[in-house]
């Protein structure tokens, strides 16, 4: 079946540095990708999305890069802040119409 996985379960960065969270997906038919942020005790919140006809999309302090050749997705957070500490999930939508989630990366921002 379809699967989405993350490279690293945990990531620690210094406040003010840039963070890069990676995600690999296996379904070559996936055409829509989303990054979610989940803070402790809360439901996932939408951060940014990207369609397969794009390779880069920028938001406020966040950039998503999509490499369809190697089926890789990354989330870059500029000037990481303490409030960015959370679990980050990538999700993809392919031939199935529901989202498939990866296992998550715990981002910890160090003072």
């Amino acid at each position: 079946g379809e699967s989405v996985g993350l490279h690293l379960p945990t990531l620690s960065v210094q406040e003010g540095d840039n963070s890069i969270i990676n995600c690999a997906y296996s379904n070559s038919a996936s055409d829509y990708f989303i990054w979610y942020k989940q803070e402790s005790g809360k439901g996932p919140q939408f951060i940014i999305d990207i369609r397969s006809n794009m390779d880069k999309r920028q938001g406020q302090r966040v950039t998503v890069l999509l490499n369809k050749t190697v089926k890789h997705l990354s989330l870059q957070i500029a000037a990481t802040q303490p409030g960015d500490s959370a679990v980050y999930f990538c999700a993809e939508k392919g031939s199935a119409r529901q989202l498939t989630f990866g296992s998550g990366t715990q981002l910890t921002v160090l003072p």
Binding site: I34, G41, P44, D49, F89, K93, F101, G104
Partner: protein, 113 residues
Amino acid sequence: EADIYQTPRYLVIGTGKKITLECSQTMGHDKMYWYQQDPGMELHLIHYSYGVNSTEKGDLSSESTVSRIRTEHFPLTLESARPSHTSQYLCASSGDGRNTEAFFGQGTRLTVV
């Protein structure tokens, strides 16, 4: 803030009890979903619905059942709770269109003792 609400937020219940987790959304979304999530782990889809009177099982087998009698309401029921059902249950909804994100509720953390 997404207009999707789950109740209760926390529930501790004894083995064998019947429980219903409530989920309501005010966005008029046709598509609704239930995910199960253990702490620090990925989300597993257990049920989804594409509209009234439509329900399907997700990727992860679950002993729970769902109903969709009204567009805005998508309750999940466990007829006989067991300790293995202890988990967080997240409800979500999404609008029409292939490329639209899902909005999540705050979740219900269920503990079966």
